[in-house]
């Protein structure tokens, strides 16, 4: 019976290693697991074709874009304004679609 290292990780379930290091199949846990850390799958902003641009003049700071963003890339700054984290925003356009004052425009990346 092969000694399985993954038990050491899972024995203390409150322990959530940010980086798991495995060298071969014998060390692997039974299934791949990951724990939520920012950017665990890389800089997903690279995927974007259209970028959301917030018009701060018409924005009413209602926060609907912040609520709807599936990737939590809408950031509320200290002034209460909403900004986009372009490192991770995939450009899905949900924020622009949901914005009640049409204050978010989807701009083609190359046209900027």
């Amino acid at each position: 019976m092969i000694k399985v290292k993954w038990k050491n990780i899972c024995e203390d379930k409150d322990k959530r290693p940010e980086v798991q290091e495995y060298h071969n199949w014998k060390e692997l846990p039974p299934i791949p697991i990951s724990f939520p850390i920012k950017g665990s799958i890389g800089t997903t902003g690279d995927w974007r074709t259209f970028k959301p641009v917030v018009n701060k003049d018409t924005c009413t700071k209602c926060g609907i874009c912040w609520m709807y963003c599936p990737e939590a890339t809408i950031i509320r700054n200290e002034e209460g304004e909403f900004e986009v984290d372009y490192v991770y925003c995939k450009g899905c356009g949900i924020c622009a679609k949901e914005c009640p004052t049409k204050s978010i425009e989807m701009v083609r990346e190359s046209e900027e």
């Binding site: 899972c10 379930k13 199949w25 692997l28 039974p30 299934i31 697991i33």
Partner: protein, 418 residues
Amino acid sequence: MVEAQEDFVQERETKIIKGNIAAAYAAKSARVQVISAYPITPQTTVVEKLSEFVDNGEMPGTEYIKVESEHSVMASIIGASTAGTRTFTATSGQGLFYMYEMVHWAAGARLPIVTTIASRGPAPPWNIWADFTDIMSCRDTGWMISFAANHQEIYDDILMSYKISEDYDILLPKFVAYGGFTVSHTSKPVTIEDQDAVDKFLPPLPDERGWPHIFLDPERPMMHGNLIMPSGFYNEFRLKIHHTMLLAKEKIREVTDEFGNTFGRQYGNGLIQEYKMNDADVAIINYGELAMQMEQAVDDLREEGYKVGCVKLRYFRPFPVEDVINIARKVKVLGVADRATAFGSPTGGPLSSEVKSALHNSGVSTQVLPIIMGLGGREVSLEQQKNQLKVLTKINETGEFPNNMIGGTFWDGLLEVE
């Protein structure tokens, strides 16, 4: 029909019940926490009986989920098991096929789900009777697959299944298959074990922290079933499932032994059960209910002086390669009887193809006769099984195979209408 109300089973008692009802009692004895159900013949009375148990309050704390399809059955059971519960469901034939996508997922996620299959022939032609082609389609899913040959074995094997599947070194789902109608709808005595004894035999129910490798807790979020890029550990995770299957053979032997010592019913070495094999010249491997009838055929022919034996295959996955080689070594001609098809495979039968594969390069030169019979519930009589043993004996004595073989396989009992 409403059956007599009964309280918790407090001590072992023997009931005359149908195979499906034995499966329901086993789920009850195992204190399963979540059952998801969708009816399909011939499995339906398993989940009907369980709904009765839950409704009567005989399974306190058990969640019974009614869903709209078999696909959702397995999807919901996967969710329940991921959350850290002991789960159960049952299906058959077309229902299993509809469930199939999720069947792979359960094994890949390494969830110890136990599911019974009252096997039936795939359609078309439409068929609801005994035929193991349905469960054989799950050969490569990563589920362990065992066959229960009789009513008591259904009950016993489900209990053993939880102990094997939930072992932290195994963590694989498991099917228990038995013949539709031949076992599911016939009645025989079944001993329902004392609840305390079952509790002691089985591992404790998972607590709120769930299984060791996977858990759902909003306070401690984790992601599983993640995408692995081609350069990542995908090959290695698949190898782990196969490697675990190999380890499971030892666990199956261990648990079967422990079950025998605890409850007094022995099932060979767990993977196979031999019958009068010690001095046999020829023998047949069967699985399911026809393996039981074959023992009678062996007894009858032994009275006539034939040196014959038989083997009941209990596990198809993991496949008992070593045991099959040992059996083959004992005899000169080995019949392998399938109540299932594997169209276009080397022999046309799923088990006979496996046996031939296991014997290749094993140094055993035993002749193998693949047999296919009893598809779609076609009756396989005692006389027919005795004749199969005689065919094997003839091969042994004269080297002559039957002259009506098709693609190297003996299709026994084909209709010839005048």
